[in-house]
Amino acid sequence: MAPATSAAVTLFSPGDGHSLLSSGSQSELFEVDFQSSFKPRLFSSEQFNKMPSRIAPPSKAIAFILRCKRPLKTRRQYATAAAAITPAASHAQMTQGSPPIARYPATQPPSYKPPAFRKSQLLRQYASVLRSTPLMLLFQHNNLKSIEWTGIRRELTNALRKVDEAAAESLEEGIKFQIIQTGIFSSALKIVEFYKPDSETVTLDPTDPSTPSSAAIPVFKADGSDLTHTLSKAAHDATAKKSHALQPLLSGPLAILTFPSVSPAHLKAALSILSPSPPQFPAPTRRANPGWHDPPVQSGMQKLLLLGARVEGKVFDVDGTRWVGSIDGGLEGLRVQLVAMLQGIGAGVTSTLESAGKSLYLTVEGRRTMLEEEEKGPSEEKS
């Protein structure tokens, strides 16, 4: 009736609602019992009337099911029941212990502030922006309308794209102009600047099968007091009473322009769009860039106020920012200048060092010739 491979069979009797769960072999036993010897005696009416059987006789429906020889149509096989038998442990499991259990996913360590809050995520975002951008400009925006923002961003993108094409780079996609929340940004800035936890990272990964089970996973306390990430309590405590040089700038409506690398060419293009100052950063001419002279862009640009910059962790004011933008040839240009200077120094040093050696050589040579002449003199006189 039931194939030998079927692990479990559920027999379902619709009549009285009883369900009979039994393994395949047992149901075969039942079949044999009921059909051959046991059934006639059990169902003889006299016996049934004389004494009440202790085992309740199977109902007619079940009896019918048990009697019929055809494979049952009502029989159901459940996958859950089949999975009840666990497979044998793998070889790796037999030889190694199970790895230690991590209490949380590596990407979601417990945090000091509730991580679901928007400001927690903003803090993480700002910290990551600050860690990744070496060049950042700070602007105050005074009631710009959305159409003005759109126009300014469009002009900025176009100008940067031109610089990209000229320099065969692709920085434009990484340059972003975004409005920030000053309070969260300032605490993110402090965390990035002042909070340098020991770089003793946990190399032990509980999900790695090669980790021995006896390895001591650092146990994190429930309050997260020994975590070192941006949202941790340690970061909060270490920076709560610090003050950064950029701090006074971080009030009022602020927007930041972030660059993925220090590129004075791009900075120059951005400055000439956002806050042109004629000699070094001329505004684009009407013929070259008519879009920049649109009324929304113009009015928006008037309302943007360049406040300062942060270049490789150092704070610059407006003049400093313009100076960074005015470096010709960018970082390469600076290097060329430095190399030229060092080469000049090198030539001087070598000539100085050489002069000492030369003079010594000349002196020694002079003395030698003198001695030789002295030696020769008497010998000549002798001979």
Binding site: P248, G252, Q302, F316
Partner: protein, 125 residues
Amino acid sequence: MITRFLTEVSTVFNPFSPKAKTARLFLSFLPSNARQTIKINTKMLPKISREPSFVELKFSKKSPPSYARPSAVLSLMGGWLTMGHFIEDGKQMKLDAEKLGIKGVVEEVDRHSRILSRQEELTGN
């Protein structure tokens, strides 16, 4: 803040000084279309300077035409072009931003603007 009667705003501040907050906030309080009617000068001091920050204001007697007031719509074009031709109130204020704070500055501006608006109402314009 009543900005209808302002014709000129000039601010001087060093953004790296914490006291510059007042002047900067004052600039951000001006409405979005303020630059059509108000002449705004902003001078930014270098980082090391210790000069005080201040807000200098000039008032006009008549408020400039705006979309909100239907009587002024006719003279709108003229209003834009003749920005300098408003009857000058003559009142000039030089407010010490460091001392007053943003609340104080707004209070001073409002105080004078209310006087002007009352005069405007009484003359029936």
